[in-house]
């Protein structure tokens, strides 16, 4: 896959605050790249620099091999943006909004008519074309927001946290839509602080914090970068401190917590569940439920930065 976006050594300062700190990344054609980081980590700032909306202090940004600038109209015509906020005109109805924003890219009326209808079909707003945005639910507004950003069939689409404050049904619809767009050949840059979404969608993930690249790779690769490989949770009563200490001394065990009912064990790679159950059985403890969870991107983030990814 060829490199469609390349960011090299990007630095963006707001007076004393360094929002993006020597950040480099690349996006391959046709992939979904997840840009993951907590609020204020520099995700949106990076995107806005790439879009040439924000001035930056250092670095280079190229799209399709050409330097991006406010006057790079040929590049801009191939880019679609779905902003974090629902960014539509309240006085125009659904159809008119999509037509207006599509019209910024496509001047031919007939072509635009076709594209607008396709966008409406794509986001499932056929029944609401005459509705003004204030009459739409939060989820439908988000879909309209997406339709306005993709109607002109861009080659590169930036989704900036498109599912914030969206009900699960609309969220699934949006995520399915994004996958469809990728299948149709679009390259997608998806920013979020919802790790589940990024895990579900992204071919590759970049973790960003305090404007710096923390890690990048596929979800599996990122998970393999950390020591912890599973969280084991066992429901068992009356485990003594002495036996807990025995568990702690087992190989691959990083931490053991017990609240009188649930035993929680963080473990590395290996046959951990079997080992733990063997020890507890030897001591005669009765176990009810045993769970084993794989590490999440939040665990990756936690291990790499020492803090939780989601701060809301």
């Amino acid at each position: 896959m060829s490199e469609i976006i390349k960011v090299d050594g990007l630095v963006k300062r707001y007076k004393e605050l360094i929002a993006v700190d020597n950040f480099s990344m690349s996006v391959n054609e046709g992939e979904i790249l997840g840009l993951l980081g907590p609020n204020g980590s520099g995700k949106s700032t990076t995107i806005n620099c790439i879009l040439s909306l924000l001035e930056f202090d250092k670095g280079t940004i190229t799209i399709m091999g050409k330097e991006m600038s406010p006057k790079a109209y040929d590049l801009k015509s191939r880019i679609g943006v779905v902003p974090q906020e629902v960014s539509v005109f309240e006085e125009l109805n659904v159809y008119e909004n999509i037509d207006f924003f599509c019209g910024l890219y496509v001047s031919d009326k007939d072509e635009r008519k076709k594209l607008v209808q396709e966008a409406i079909d794509f986001v499932g707003l056929n029944e609401f074309t005459k509705f003004r945005p204030k009459k739409l639910s939060g989820g439908l507004k988000r879909r309209l927001n997406i339709a306005c950003g993709i109607a002109h069939k861009p080659k590169i689409i930036f989704f900036d946290e498109p599912t914030v404050a969206v009900d699960p049904q609309s969220r699934n619809k949006i995520l399915e839509g994004i996958e469809e767009l990728r299948s149709a050949g679009a390259t997608i840059i998806y920013t979020s602080h919802y790790m589940e979404e990024v895990e579900q969608l992204a071919d590759r993930v970049i973790i960003i914090d305090k404007g710096q690249l923390i890690a990048e790779g596929t979800v599996d690769k990122l998970k393999s970068m950390i020591k912890k490989s599973e969280m084991i949770k066992i429901e068992a009563k009356g485990i003594s401190d002495e036996d807990l200490e025995k568990l702690r001394r087992l190989d691959n065990i990083f931490s053991v917590d017990y609240d009188g009912k649930y035993l929680k064990v963080e473990a590395g790679k290996g046959n951990n569940v079997v080992e733990i159950i063997r020890v507890l059985e030897e001591k005669g403890y009765k176990m009810k439920n045993v769970y084993s969870e794989q590490p999440t991107l939040n665990d990756v983030f936690l291990e790499l930065t020492g803090k939780e990814l989601r701060d809301d």
Partner: protein, 396 residues
Amino acid sequence: MMFTYYLRKTLRDKGYIFWSLAFPLLLMLCFNVTFMGPAKGEVDFEPVKSSVIVESESEFSKEFETVLSNLADSETVKNSNMGYNHAIVELLDSGSREEAEKKILDKDMEVLYLVNGEKETIEVKVGDGANMTTLMVARSIVESYRRNYTIIKDAAITAPDKIEAVMKSLSESVPVMKAKTTYLGDDGSSANVYMWYFYSTIVMGMFFNVTSGIRTVFDIQGNLSGAGMRTSVSPSKKAKILLSAFFSRYSLACAMTFFELFCMNKFFDIPVGSRLPEIILFVLIGNLFSMSLGCCFGLFTKGDENARENKATAFVMLSVFLSGEMIVQLPGLLEKSFPILNQINPATIMNFAFYRLVNYPTLTGFWMNLLKIAIATVVFLGISIMKLRREKYAAL
């Protein structure tokens, strides 16, 4: 496409249409009911207790005394075309100037005219408690007399053979006429208050377009709104979007002002004069000024769109208030105590411009006022365009 959508968007903005179109028309209706009476007749009033002190005699002072005597005679007034069936003034013997002033302070008399025949000036003294009608009658008498005396004097020089006909025609309208009250204008001329309220309302309607300027800025600035961000990242040239957004609103604003002027003239019988090219220019520059002012408010004040609109509206309200929209004597009072305010207050400047356009035989005052507004417009537009040209922002 963009022009049509921006126009459609503005037309559907109920708040904007209300403040810029419906509210001025409603206000005119209120003024009409208040000042014209329910049947569009005259508001009746008691004869105003008045007196004349002649400081130096001349033809000017003698004629003025004659005019006042006529107005104090109910038969003369009835037989004129003034529309009243009683005397306009009640002439009192005041004695000396000091005695007359004491009578005013004691509220035994309402108006004192100090006439200087040599200098051909009339000073009007009224008490603190003088009501609007008293003020109106006093100012109207002086204004009408001054205007008509000048015409008669000019006629005597330029066409002495026609002086009789001129005097006959003027005697039909001397003085009071249909005006309600007047106050001294910025150059010592007087303004008819009834018209002034309406003109001020037209200016207010135009000035409410500051919100249109703010919305234009918010629609295209990527650092101010999501929609602005969308337009900024699009391949459409910013100048094109700016022109569409600005001129769609500007043309609507001008159309609304013309409609208000039409209604004012057609339904409320307020004269707009016959100088159509100047009226058009007045409307075009007035709206351009308010929109460019709005752009500056949108670009240089802090807060969200509503906060910036509130600040601009507050500024407009203050400006319009100081121009006499609610208290018609205010510009006159300011002229005496703080004249610079009248010189820089855009609403007052615009009001005077229109008043002069309609009522004055020469347009020098009109052009001077319009020039001030045009210069301010150029400055505001220049600053706005320089800022709006930016396509990349330091912060979002």
